[in-house]
Symmetry: none
C-alpha cells in the first residue's frame, strides 16, 4: 500500500502521519515524486480502512499493492486445490462435468436425466430444488421434495449431487447434498457465505451477474475464513450491454483465476448464453481454454421444462457435446 | 390484466365477478380510479378469454398488463403511494431526507450526528449496525449494540430510524426500527424479501449494482405479494465501465419509475458517487429531477469514520446542501 | 509513476533499470515494500510507454501518478475556460442552451423551430445536416443543403449554429458554422480530431457511447494539442445494461469534469434518455447539478420527424422546460 | 423480406418479377438455395402487400426479414462466404491465422517476425503502420514508411498483409495492401465505411468497444451496400466493468454470428485480453468455439515493442500455441 500526500503538507504533519502508521505496526518508507511526498507502507495493512486513510486532510490518494484475498490467493497456496466429491474430483488436472436439469420436476424426470447424463460421461448431477425466480409468481421449485428426488437419483446412478441453497436456514435439509451451490444473486449474501464457511461441504460459488474477479475471490475468502476451504468457482456469464445472449460468457477468467488462486474453476455455458445452440460451442471453448469443469443443463424434454428450457440440451445433444469435449481434453 | 367495470355496477355484481376470478385461481386486487372500479388480476391469466370477459354486462374494458409486476404497477394503483414513517412521509409530493453516518460507531457519534442532521432538516436518521463488507476482514458493524444506539438517537431527536438488515433471522431485533433497508447486494435475496413481505415495516429497497429497473420492481413485487406494500425504492448508482466514480448514478430512473410504479423513489448520491465533493451536486440534481427524497451519509468526523468516510459530508456541508435542496424543491 | 520490480530481481538488474530510467531524464527513488523493490520515477514520464515498461522481465507492475492529459487539465489552467460563440458564452458561470431539431428537414421547419426556441430562451441553434445513421438505408441528412438552411435560420434569428461534422473532408463547407460538433461515435476518430485541432472553430465534443471520462479528456487533448483550445464537452449518456432508457445519463460527470478540467460541460438529455417525457426532468437535474449548458432536441411536429422524433420536445414543452431551468439557475 | 420462387419458374418469369420489384424502388439480390430461387429485397418493403405477393403464380412463400441487415444476412446468402486473400482463405471451413507485431517498427523487425510466424503456420501478416493512439503524445506509427516495410515483408515471405486504415484519404497508399483493417474505434465511422464499400479490397472489420452484434452487422452492411462484399468480422473484446483484463473477450459471438450472417468471424485475443499469458488459452478457446481464424500479436522482443508489448507473444510462444491450435482444429 502506498499513501500519497497532498502538496503543502508540512514536515510536522507528515511526521504525525508516519508515527500513526508506525503505531499500527507498519514500517514507513518515504520519498518525493514530482513535488508530492509518497509514503510506502510495509507490513500487514489488511486492517487499514483505505477510505478512512484517503479522508485524512493531507492524503491525496492511496494505492494498493497486495491483493485483499489471502486464503484464496495462490501466493499463499501455490499448489492447485483438488476438490474431492465422492469419487469425482475437480482441479489440478481433474475435469468434472456437472449435468442435469434446471429444476427437479418429478421422480421420473430426474432419474431419467441422471441416467442419461451419466451414460454420456457426467461426473456429477445438478438439479434445482430451491429455485431463485425473479418473479414471485414463478415456479419456486419442489424444495424438500426436490432434494429427496435428487437423492433417489444419486442412489440410482452413483452420481454425487450439486444443488442450490437459497437460505442458511435450509442447511439441515442439505445434509446429504454433496456440493452446495451458491447462486449468482447470492454471491455477496455475506450472511449465507459465513454460514457455509462453518460447514465442510464442497461449495460451488457462482460469480455474480456483475461482480468482478476480485469480488468473486473475496466471496470465496468469506467462506474460507470461516474454515471451509472446499470451493469450486464458477463462471456463468456477466451482465453487459449485449442482448443477443442472455449474459456475456467471460472465458478469460479461466487463465486469470488460475494465476490468482489455487481454487478450481468451472464454466456454466447454459446460464451464460441462454440458448441451447450456443451451449456446445461454448462448452468446447471453455474446455480448450483450460476450465477444470463444465456445468451443463440437460433436460429430456426442454420444450416442457418448468424453467429455462431454451438453454437446455437434450440427452443426445449432451452426448454429442461430451464426445467432442473428451477430444479437446486430450489436446489440452 | 386489469378488468375495468362499468359505472353503476352494484356491490353484489362486483363480488360475483371477483368470486369467479378467484375460482380461476387468480388473486384480485380492487381499486377505484376516476369513479370506475378496477379489478387487477394477479396470476396465470392466459386461460381467460378476453373477448368473453368484455362481453359481460358489467365489464367496460379489459387491458393486458404486459409488465410482470402487478401490485407495484401504477396501472393497478394510479395514485402515488405515500409511505408514512412516524411523522415523516415520502411520496405523493412529500419529500424525505434520510441522513446519518455509514456505520453507528458510538453513542456519542450517533447522537451528535442525529442532532446535527435534524437541525439541518433531515426527516429520518440512517446508520448501519449490520454492515455488508466485501472483505471478511473489514469492520462488520456494532450489530445489536448498534441498533440500541440508533434507538437512543431516536429518543434524543424524534427522528425515525432507517437501518439495513442482512439476514431474516435478525428480524426480532428490528422491532423498533422504523424503516428496514435492503441493501443493493440483497436486492435479489428472495428469501429475505419473502420474509420482509410478512412484516408491516416500511422497507427501503435499494437497486442492485447491476439490476434493471424491471428487476427492481420485481423485487418490490416479491415483498408486496407477501402482504407488505410499504416500499420505498432507492437508486444508489449502477455498475458500469467508468472508474472515476464508485458507481454511475442513474437519475433517469426517477421519471421512469414514476411512470411505471406508484411507489416513491429516493436517491443515495453518497454510495453512488463515492466522493464527498460529488454528493451535493448530485443531491441537487436528484431533487430537481423529481426524487421523492434523498439518503445522504453524514459524519461528524469523516476522516475517522470506520467505513466509507470518503463519501460522507460533514454536518456543515450537509446543512449547506439542505439550504439549496429546499430552494430547488420550491421550484419543482 | 511508480515501477514495482519482481521478487528475485538482482542488484545488477535493478541498477541497469535505474540507469535506463536516468538516461530518459528521470530521477529514480527506490524503496523496499514487502520483499518487493519499488522505483518511484520523478520527471516527465509522458514519453514512456507503460505497456513496454510492464513487459520488462523484472517489472511486476507500473502505477500512474499523474493524469495523461495536460492542456485540458485544470492543474495546467486553473481558471474556467469561457467559450465565446458570437454573442453566446459557455462556461465560467455562463449558461448556454442549444436547441433545435435532430435533422434539418426543410427551410420552413428549421426556421420555424429556430424562432420558437429563440423565443423560449435558447442561445444557440442545433440541427443535423450530416447524420450518422446506424443503417446505410436510413435518411443520411440534407448535407450541403442542410448547412445552407441552418445559415438561413441564423440570419432569421441571430442564433449561432451547432452542427455535426462526419468527415474532415467536409471542413470547407463548415466555414460559416459557429460550433462544429463531433458525435459520440467519432469521439475517438483521431484523424478527425487532429484536423479540427488545426481550425479555430469552437468544437462541441460528445462523449462516446462507452468512453471513460479520461478518454473524453484525451480526445479533447488531441484537439488542443493541434492548437485549438475552444472545446465544449458534452455528456450524452453511456451504454449500460439498462434498456428502459436509450442510454444511461451520467450526470456525475459534471462535478468530476469541473474538478479535472477547465473546459465547460453541457448535457444532452435527449439522446441520453431517448424519450421525450424524460427530457425535462433530466434537463432540470443537469442544471441543478451544475452543467454549463444543455443541448435539447426540439421539433415542431415530432411524430413526423425524420429521425429521433421520440425524444424531441415540442416548442411548447421546450418553453415550459426553460421556465423551470431559469428558476433552477437562480438557485445554483 | 425475401420472396421464394416456386421450382420451375422460368427465367423470363423471374425477370418480370425482378423488374416489378425494382419499379417499387427496391433492390433485388437473387440466389439459389436448395434448388429454389430466392429474391432478397432491400429497401422500403412496407408498401408491399404480402398476401398479394404470395398469390402470384410463381411465388412459393414470402418471409419477412426482421433484421435490419440484408446483404450480410444468412437468409440472403445461406452459404458461408469464403474470403480469398492471395493464397489464403477464411470462412466455410478454411481457417486463417493472422499474426505479426502491433506496430511496424523497422525493416529488420517486421521481416524477422514475418519469417517466424510464417514458419509457425500463420497465413497472413499483420502490422500497424497507422496507429490509433488514445493519447496524442504516443507513437503514431511509421505510416507510409510502415506500409512499405510491410510490403517488403510480403515479398520476403509471400504472406498477404493486413493493416489498419485510419482515414479514407489514405486509401491510395493501400493499393498493395491485401486486407484493410477497420479498427474498433472506427467501426461506426460511417464515412470511412462508405469509402471502403467502393473498393474491392478484403476488409477486416473489428467490433467496436461497446457495439452490439447487430451494430457490427450494420457496419458490415454499410460496406456491402457500397458494393464490397469481402468482409471478415473480428471479435476483439468488449468493454465491461471488469478491470483485470483489458476488455472482456466475448466468444459467444462466434456461434451467434454464424447463425446470423454468412461472413467469416475471426478472434483477436491479444487486444481482447491485454496480457500475453492469456492469449494462448483464449486462442485455443476461440478455435474450439468455431472461429474461422485468429489474429495474434507476435513480436520478437515484446519488452521493446513500441506499443502493446504486454499482450504480444514471442515467436516461440506463438509456435507453441499454433501446435495446439492445429490439434484443436482437427477435433472441430
Amino acid at each position: 500500500m502506498i499513501c500519497i500526500l497532498k502538496a503543502g503538507t508540512t514536515e510536522a504533519q507528515k511526521q504525525m502521519l508516519i508515527k500513526w502508521f508506525e503505531d499500527q505496526g507498519l514500517r514507513v518508507h518515504e520519498y518525493e515524486d514530482e513535488n508530492q511526498t509518497v509514503l510506502g507502507l510495509i507490513g500487514d495493512t489488511s486492517g487499514i480502512d483505505v477510505e478512512m486513510l484517503e479522508m485524512l486532510e493531507n492524503v491525496e490518494r492511496v494505492a494498493m499493492i497486495s491483493e485483499p484475498f489471502k486464503k484464496a490467493n495462490r501466493k499463499f497456496h501455490p499448489e492447485d486445490s483438488v476438490i474431492q466429491v465422492e469419487n469425482a474430483k475437480i482441479g489440478g488436472g481433474e475435469f468434472a462435468v456437472i449435468a442435469g436439469p434446471c429444476s427437479v420436476e418429478s421422480e421420473e424426470q430426474i432419474i431419467e436425466v441422471a441416467k442419461q447424463v451419466k451414460a454420456a460421461g457426467a461426473t456429477m448431477l445438478r438439479g434445482g430444488a430451491f429455485k431463485p425466480r425473479t418473479s414471485p409468481y414463478d415456479f419456486q421449485g419442489l424444495k424438500d421434495e426436490g432434494l429427496k428426488l435428487l437423492l433417489e437419483a444419486k442412489e440410482a446412478t452413483g452420481l454425487p449431487i450439486v444443488t442450490e441453497i437459497m437460505n442458511a436456514d435450509h442447511l439441515p435439509l442439505f445434509e446429504d447434498v454433496d456440493v452446495i451451490q451458491v447462486g449468482a444473486r447470492n454471491m455477496q449474501n455475506f450472511e449465507l457465505l459465513k454460514e457455509l464457511g462453518h460447514t465442510n461441504k464442497a461449495i460451488l460459488l457462482k460469480r455474480g451477474l456483475a461482480n468482478t474477479i476480485k469480488e468473486l475471490l473475496m466471496s470465496a475468502e468469506y467462506i474460507m475464513s470461516g474454515g471451509n476451504e472446499n470451493i469450486i468457482l464458477c463462471e456463468r456469464g456477466i451482465r453487459t450491454f449485449e442482448t443477443y445472449t442472455r449474459n456475456t460468457l467471460d472465458l478469460s477468467v479461466i487463465p486469470v483465476l488460475h494465476q490468482l488462486t489455487h481454487l478450481p474453476v468451472v464454466v456454466d455455458p447454459s446460464h451464460a448464453t441462454g440458448h441451447a445452440d450456443l451451449v456446445a460451442p461454448m462448452a468446447l471453448a471453455a474446455t480448450a481454454g483450460g476450465a477444470d469443469g463444465l456445468m451443463i443443463e440437460v433436460h429430456n424434454d426442454p420444450a416442457k421444462a418448468l424453467c429455462d428450457g431454451a438453454q437446455s440440451l437434450t440427452p443426445d445433444q449432451f452426448k454429442a457435446m461430451m464426445d467432442k469435449v473428451r477430444k479437446i481434453r486430450e489436446v489440452i
